[in-house]
Amino acid sequence: MSLLGVLNIAGSGMGAESQRLSAVASNIANANTSVGPGGEPYRAREVVFQAVAADGGGDDAASTGMAGVKVAAIVESDAPLKQVYDPGSSFADQNGYVKMPNVNNVDEMVNMLSAQQDYQADLEAFNVAKTLALRTLQI
């Protein structure tokens, strides 16, 4: 039944958007993490969305119109790291510069708003489908 398919598709959208929101939260939280686990500064993460066939078959999902969404990969931004002049830091190089994460707070805020808007749209689609399915039961 197609209305229950809406629930799956909107659910996949909400899952993907919340992962995007997680990435934003991680980036903002680590905006000043100059030393990560590998000794290197934190690099901003970005999620990559990909359309997948909602019924699990067929590669060209868009042509049939039935496409959920999934997070295909989480990539690290290759933007240059920020350099902060802080000769007193123990992490400073020989010129006195400390490498800081390449997190751009403006980008992150815009990304967060966009994720919020998309999540709300998914939720709306979910609720409408639920209402319609319940209405159908009353025929």
Binding site: S2, D118, D122, V128, A129, L132, T136
Partner: protein
């Protein structure tokens, strides 16, 4: 007689299936509002219904309104046991005229939301018609409620 009962409800079944399928397509657009390269699609409702009902279901000017036809044969052509969703799948088209963003995504979220809302209202309307048709048939079979109570 059973043919009449069947044909009066069959059309609503097809319409509900096409409307439900369209709701799914619109949900897929909304879910992929941020997917790079995703092209927005929509169901051509007139064509989908025409496919589903075998060419007798659109609101063209010279076509009979199928839910009022007296010949049940018009409802039967090409739609016996047919799956309306499969017919609607043939009428899925790319949306034209929406501005694609830099990543190649052409989903206009506001447009999708309003279209989905309007489609939902249409779905509820058809569901109401179906309920009323069933009540009408029930009245035809049982007589009016007042007479039933009096007997």
């Amino acid at each position: 007689m059973i043919g009449t009962l069947d044909s009066s409800l069959e059309f609503y079944r097809q319409v509900l299936a096409v409307r439900g399928y369209r709701q799914e397509v619109l949900a897929a657009d909304i879910a992929n509002a941020s997917t790079p390269g995703f092209k927005a699609v929509d169901v051509d409702f007139a064509q989908a219904l025409e496919n589903a009902t075998g060419g007798a279901g659109t609101s063209g000017t010279d076509r009979p309104r199928t839910w009022l036809v007296e010949e049940p044969g018009q409802m039967q052509a090409g739609n016996t046991g047919g799956d309306a969703s499969a017919a609607a799948a043939g009428a899925v088209k790319y949306q034209m005229g929406t501005q694609a963003s830099l990543d190649g995504n052409s989903v206009d979220l506001d447009l999708e939301k309003t279209t989905a809302a309007s489609n939902a209202v249409d779905y509820e309307a058809v569901a109401s018609f179906t309920t009323l048709t069933l009540k009408m048939l029930s009245t035809a079979i049982n007589g009016s409620a007042g007479q039933q109570g009096g007997s």
